[in-house]
């Protein structure tokens, strides 16, 4: 990796901004995500900010099942995120559809629509697991992984 790549990777890891999108979950995982922002877990220590805007974010946290309506929204939001970007699927609904897998409008987990980088299991996923998952995702900002995904 060249020097510039090393520098860019370093800064990308030091300042990951999140976009949190709820596809239609029971809000259990969402509450746990928001709990990470509270003084108990305080993810701002890692420079993580929950921006609500895909154009500002690096990592998209997705909870809930993907269905025929919100798949377009997911794709739109993913499209509006600037590269390099990562997807973290949180909770069993986002992983595979969870208990709602058999419902008529449910397509399944997030990976049916988007390329997921990290899966965080749980129902709901614990804040510690979510933080773990995000930190694991950060590793993918390194140059080789970025090149693999074709983000150049």
């Amino acid at each position: 990796m060249s020097v510039i790549d090393k520098i860019q990777t370093y800064f990308r890891k030091k300042s990951p901004w999140l976009l949190h999108f709820d596809c239609g979950s029971c809000n259990g995982c969402d509450i746990e995500v928001l709990a990470c922002l509270t003084p108990v877990y305080d993810i701002e220590r890692f420079g993580i900010i929950n921006v609500g805007n895909p154009m500002h974010s690096d990592i998209m946290l997705v909870t809930g099942t993907v269905n025929h309506r919100n798949k377009k929204v997911l794709l739109n939001l993913y499209d509006q995120m600037p590269n390099p970007k990562l997807i973290v699927a949180i909770g069993s609904c986002a992983l595979s559809g969870g208990v709602f897998r058999e419902a008529y409008n449910v397509i399944g987990g997030v990976d049916k629509i988007l390329p997921v980088d990290v899966y965080v299991p749980g129902c709901p996923a614990k804040p510690e697991a979510i933080i773990d998952g995000v930190v694991m995702a950060l590793d993918k900002f390194s140059r080789e992984k970025v090149k693999e995904k074709g983000y150049a």
Binding site: F11, G47, P84
Partner: protein
């Protein structure tokens, strides 16, 4: 001549470096006030560097133009400050940046951008008369608009211009985008307009706007520092205490709407300024 060049370079450098540090301190102190730990003090620099390394993405190319103009205008105004130039000229130069920020936001058709831009215009409308009156007060006291006259003045300006300092405080709160005046865009939590004015900026352009904002922070804190320009200790104490007060106000108040902001700040700020100016005029 060499002194001028040194001042220019100091002005260009002070914005990013000092402004970023103050921004970082801001976040740590805010976090501590909220019983959190907060990010490292260099976090704003990490944010800007990360943004610079992102893909270039925009809603339209005009936004790139406006982001650059904003940065250049705020940088020029800070450089003029370091060159100890005319205060009124500095105000007008800073206003160039603010207008370009608005025009850039208006160029996006997203409602968040549009409403954010109009709120930003209303914010400009609110604080600009106050800044002009503060500068007029400095003129009435020192006899000159030039910053060099302030530095040569024998006593701290705060003694004769206390109400004008309070009026400046209103302008400072609005400029720093602190509650209750963080209508058009705000720093941390996303707000009812997503990111308001800055919603459709991203990547490198957002980084430029952030650095421009640092220049603005330095400029307005510089204006505050003029009120105790007789000693370095005085400057640091005044600016620190003012900034702490701003943080506390930010954390205890909720965001208000533009009608309240316009009405309240004009009523309080203009009255305070007028009273102080009448004092100076008579004395």
């Amino acid at each position: 001549m060499t002194q001028n060049i040194a001042q220019i370079l100091a002005g260009i450098a002070a914005g990013p470096f000092l402004g970023g540090l103050i921004s970082g301190l801001d976040r740590i102190l805010t976090a501590r006030l909220q019983a959190r730990i907060g990010p490292p003090v260099l976090q704003p620099f990490f944010d800007v560097m990360k943004l610079l390394s992102k893909e270039k993405m925009a809603v339209n190319v005009w936004q790139a133009f406006c982001a650059y103009c904003y940065l250049v205008a705020t940088a020029i105004s800070l450089v003029l400050f370091f060159l100890q130039s005319d205060l009124l000229l500095i105000l007008f130069t800073q206003a160039v940046g603010a207008v370009f920020l608005v025009v850039g936001a208006l160029s996006s058709t997203s409602p968040y951008s549009q409403v954010g831009a109009h709120r930003e215009l209303l914010q400009i409308l609110t604080y600009e008369p106050l800044l002009v009156l503060v500068v007029v007060g400095i003129y009435l006291e020192t006899g000159s608009f030039k910053i060099s006259a302030v530095f040569n003045w024998h006593e701290p300006l705060l003694l004769k211009l206390p109400f004008l300092f309070l009026a400046l405080g209103y302008a400072l709160t609005i400029k720093l985008r602190k509650s209750p005046f963080d209508l058009s865009t705000s720093h941390h939590a996303h707000q009812e307009l997503v990111k308001g004015l800055l919603t459709d900026y991203s990547g490198p352009f957002l980084a430029l706007i952030e650095v421009g904002h640092w220049y603005e922070i330095m400029l307005i804190l510089g204006l505050c520092s003029l009120f105790w320009a007789t000693s370095w200790f005085g400057v640091i104490m005044l600016v620190s205490i003012t900034y702490m007060l701003e943080l506390i106000i930010d954390n205890v108040s909720a965001r208000m709407n533009w009608r309240w902001m316009l009405g309240y700040v004009w009523a309080m700020g203009l009255t305070l300024s007028l009273v102080n100016l009448i004092w100076l005029y008579q004395g």
